[in-house]
Symmetry: C2
Subunit: 448 residues, 2 copies
């Protein structure tokens, strides 16, 4: 491979896409022409579509493919959905589809939006001594702060959203002279990040100049104005339940034992952070897949969900389970801020298709669908864990990747998939049967 | 739009890709033929490449494009890197590139791998009373547990990795009869999820049968065997530092004020969870972009990072800053489990290219590069926040998306970008200048 310690380059972002790619392959690739072709091979055939994708971010040279799959048969509040997933991990879609079918026969999923308030902060330093005076000044000036954003909030107010409230919070005990204006928002069907940030920056300016123009003794410095991705007041619940005797989940353990073991697995994820992290990671496999497919921001979703999981001081499971009076119940409460308009949603053709597939839901309906994808994912994962173990199903799904890595032919693939139908897949077992089939020695140097 | 409450479908996963797509568009699309063409338009031109992507997951119908961009000029431990980003959000790559250039002139990034141990657990219930006897039985049997995995760990041991230790942990005070076997691993250059899970499932079986065959009084039930995505002993540090007088960051505030305001912004993210979540989300914008581009698992990375952020009982910033004796220092400690072999890494052509771009690093080097992407991202975000505000730069980057949404021509785009060169972009301002340019009334119904 080439030495990657190349000289710095000036003005890279100003180069054409072609020039950028050429610089990349010349400096970093052993086979510049092949790499150039590979990058171009991932472009969309229609230049105008490719240009659209290029312009989403900066210095774009190609597209990264995430597989786009679907899982049908989700019954949510008596309505049927087929859910789109954009995800690279084997078995996530299979697990979701399995859970959808399982619960379809047992009343489906029930969901509720518990709250929809979002929040942002003007973080500022004020070195005055009379905190009561600041508080009283704020109360008198609050309406002006809100009306200073009238131009920005006009359209949002017309849609029924806007600023709900502003609160002055004294945090000076934690950090000298530190205060916040905490602003609550209803952003309707948009995720609202740009809207909230624009409002906050305007409020910050207005607040600073109003204090400077006042007779309050003290200097104000705005540290920053920014939305919070933590939305514990924008929460959706998804749940499933059935009589323990109806579980019949098919792996051979009794209904009662299954329900009890499931409850215990969730309990372990409640009390043991090492388990909770992996448990919630599995939930997010489902959540993020739909977040991405619908053009939402998975980093925001992740940060919020995990901080929420740690809200009582210990990191815990986001799902809960109980067995009460012969009824098994399993549910997820998830803070979730998503949009169905704005951002790349109306631009990305695959995203538009994902929304169409879901019946063009509004933001509240989308919250519910996404939460179901997370709950379904978790149900299948825990079900596997407490019965056959996770590897059996997962490795079966991963088998095709292993066979592609070995460059197996379609015919070999078919034979090997058949062979593993009733056996546990492992990388070494796959290599072994593959080598046997070809009549070659088992190659220990095959890259794992 | 079509009514999405379609009848359940049986055997969907067994349908051909074509039949799946047809079922989707017939049932969910207003324009089935256009949707079918759209889905196919996102396929790779080479059927064998497309097939590879199809087989990563289940029920694949097309590819979801994430823009693949690059940021050059990262100096890390005196070596130059160009870092690949797969991300849909405007301004992430631009922010990273800006930070790379900024620190290139100030000594670059320094990184260290602090630890590389991964962990997994056999969670089990044992209803015996004599916990000391169990503990002593475990100590005597531990070597057999390790050797029970010999077949699975053979290749990993040949590469210098394997099982490091097993510990019996009594958690019965938290949940009746609950114990763990906590197993520590070195998985070398692989992320190791499949390897760890296979080892754990084998150890669990061996453990269960050994207890059943022993004279210990008590029944054992394996609840589940699973790796932990929480890896607080697999941690990388990335840092930057320079003399305060060398900061000259260019936004007009003094070097000293900048350093102090920056330190304060990080301090706020340490003490205020509402800020910490958004702060860490920004770090993960950088981290996840490289995680995805290099074929790693961003859900695992996210879950681990955020749980780590909450490890002392309050959710806090992952980065730290200090100003000591005239030196500004800014650093990130991040638990991070990544691989450079296994999974889809050697299969996905764009992933292979990303690794080539980075000089085909091993897992430890990749940890360091990824941490730098997170630190760089956070530096640029906080720098904007405490100087010009986040919206100025972000909306400038988002402007092309807005113009594409308005279906502006290339010529109109160029004029409008020029117009905003010295102005703050907002959606309504963009609509206004666009309408003016076309000589049409401002359309309030343009979808935001």
């Amino acid at each position: 491979m080439k030495n990657t310690s190349v000289d710095p380059i000036k003005g890279f972002s100003k180069l054409s896409k072609q020039a950028k790619m050429e610089w990349l392959v010349q400096n970093f690739s052993d086979e510049p022409n092949e790499s150039l072709q590979m990058l171009q091979g991932y472009w969309h055939a229609l230049p105008e579509v490719q240009k659209l994708h290029d312009e989403f971010i900066e210095n774009t040279v190609s597209n990264y493919y995430l597989p786009f799959g679907v899982a049908p048969n989700f019954q949510i509040n008596q309505k049927m959905y087929t859910i789109p997933f954009a995800i690279e991990e084997s078995s996530v879609v299979a697990a979701a589809a399995k859970a959808a079918n399982f619960w379809l026969d047992r009343g489906g999923f029930k969901t509720t939006v518990l709250s929809t308030t979002k929040v942002g902060h003007v973080h500022f330093i004020w070195d005055g001594q009379d905190h009561a005076a600041l508080s009283s000044f704020f109360s008198n000036y609050k309406d002006n702060l809100i009306s200073s954003t009238d131009e920005i909030t006009k359209n949002m107010r017309a849609r029924g959203g806007g600023i709900l409230d502003i609160e002055l919070i004294d945090k000076s005990e934690l950090e000298t002279d530190y205060f916040q204006l905490a602003v609550k928002f209803d952003t309707r069907d948009s995720m609202g990040a740009n809207f909230i940030n624009s409002c906050l920056e305007t409020i910050a300016k207005e607040w600073q100049s109003s204090i400077e123009a006042s007779d309050l003794a003290g200097n104000v410095q705005i540290v920053m104005s920014i939305l919070s991705n933590y939305t514990p007041e924008c929460v959706v619940r998804a749940e499933v339940s059935c009589a323990v005797e109806d579980i019949n989940e098919g792996s051979g353990i009794s209904n009662k034992e299954f329900a009890e073991k499931f409850r215990r697995a969730i309990r372990i994820a409640q009390i043991e952070p090492y388990r909770a992290v992996t448990h919630n990671k599995g939930i997010m496999n489902g959540i993020d897949s739909v977040i991405i497919a619908t053009g939402n921001d998975f980093r925001a979703t992740e940060a919020c969900a995990h901080a929420y999981a740690a809200r009582d001081g210990q990191y815990r499971s986001l799902t809960n389970a109980e067995v009460v009076d012969g009824t098994f119940r399993f549910w997820l409460d998830l803070p979730l801020s998503v949009g169905t308009v704005g951002g790349i949603i109306s631009l990305h053709p695959m995203v538009k298709f994902a929304h169409e597939l879901l019946g063009n839901p509004d933001a509240e309906e989308l919250m519910q669908i996404i939460a179901v994808a997370g709950l379904a994912q978790n149900f299948s994962a825990v079900r596997s864990l407490i019965t056959s173990g996770i590897q059996k199903g997962h490795m079966k799904m991963h088998l095709l990747n292993i066979l592609n890595q070995l460059e197996a032919t379609e015919d070999e693939k078919a034979q090997i998939v058949e062979y593993f139908k009733d056996k546990v897949v492992s990388f070494s077992a796959a290599v072994e049967i593959f080598s046997k089939l070809r009549g070659i020695p088992v190659d220990q140097k095959v890259k794992k």
